[in-house]
């Protein structure tokens, strides 16, 4: 006996009730549970659907689907970080590196030529941090709206649209900027500041603009079911 469409829907609901928010994981677990229930029916046709479901769910252990969800999260977080890194690398290889070096140079001469250099560097770091939070807020807002429209959540998409763990990225420049004091900095240090400012700016650009704009491609590549489901 095969499961009916309603029973499949019930399984989707069951995974949602057990804290599997993401459609990509739900789909895989639903198929697993469905196969297992059908197998049980072959041996014991009298078993009810709900009973069979409970037996199968128990096999996942006391934490239910939590392990599966957590592991998937960490795998996709890593994937996302790799994505950011590989995009960042393109800015440090030919031909884009020419622009990157030029930008660092411009910032360097700018902070070198003005008085109160440290204050300006601090403000620049601060502006970048504010922009980051602003950007994340806008992305999350837009994603929320879209999720409401079709009701399906994709883990990688959620990560790309603002749920990534990038606190470190923001904490670092804040700490750095706070420790800047005094006026006369060595040229080498000024160059380092310029480099860091550009690096941070580029990372933000990749995370807030570049990857979200290419999101559909990345999602289709990661999830073959993305096209079918949307």
């Amino acid at each position: 006996m095969k499961l009916s469409q309603e029973q499949i829907e019930r399984l989707y609901k069951f995974t949602r009730q057990h804290y599997v928010e993401y459609y990509d994981l739900q789909t895989e677990l639903v198929d697993h549970l469905a196969n297992a229930i059908e197998e049980q029916w072959q041996q014991n046709p009298k078993l009810s659907f709900e009973e069979a479901l409970q037996i199968e769910f128990k096999k996942f252990g006391v934490f239910g689907f939590m392990d599966v969800v957590e592991q998937r999260q960490s795998v996709l977080n890593k994937k996302y970080n790799k994505l950011v890194l590989s995009e960042l690398k393109t800015f440090f290889s030919v031909p884009k590196i020419i622009g990157t070096v030029a930008a660092i140079g411009i910032v360097f001469y700018f902070i070198k030529s003005i008085t109160l250099g440290a204050l300006v560097v601090q403000s620049l770091f601060f502006i970048l941090v504010v922009l980051y939070f602003l950007g994340i807020a806008i992305l999350m807002q837009r994603n929320k709206k879209r999720n409401k429209q079709n009701g399906k959540k994709w883990l990688l998409k959620e990560i790309m649209f603002g749920y990534s763990s990038s606190a470190g990225l923001i904490n670092l420049p804040i700490q750095f900027a706070l420790h800047l004091k005094g006026e006369n900095y060595h040229d080498g240090l000024l160059l380092l500041f310029s480099f860091l400012l550009i690096l941070l700016g580029l990372t933000e650009y990749i995370m807030l603009v570049l990857i979200p704009s290419k999101a559909e491609d990345f999602l289709k590549e990661t999830y073959p079911e993305y096209k079918i489901a949307n």
């Binding site: 095969k2 499961l3 469409q5 789909t27 198929d31 934490f63 392990d67 592991q71 998937r72 079911e225």
Partner: protein, 110 residues
Amino acid sequence: MKNSQLYKGSLTTIVMKLLEENGRMYGYEITQKVKEITKGELKITEGALYPALHKLEAEGVLEVEIENVDNRLRKYYKLTEKGTSETINRLAELEEFIRNMQSIVNPKLT
């Protein structure tokens, strides 16, 4: 086998070996296949299998295909090119491990 700790480290190798032999498989099929081969002695737990599959997928060892079967979407896993060569390495490692374990458990007296 009651003690699942013993095969935990070899889970990914087992999965890769099965995929090498069977082409593409889905999660439930893998658990059943292992049960069948080992006559129920070795049971892969669901809670361990899927994380292992996802990890291998992220490493580029496996790729996925989706198909609509019996009212539902089924996710198939298969080895990538990198995965195929990786399987050979890991199997060799596992075999060596088994040999070493054997000589520890059952030392030949000379």
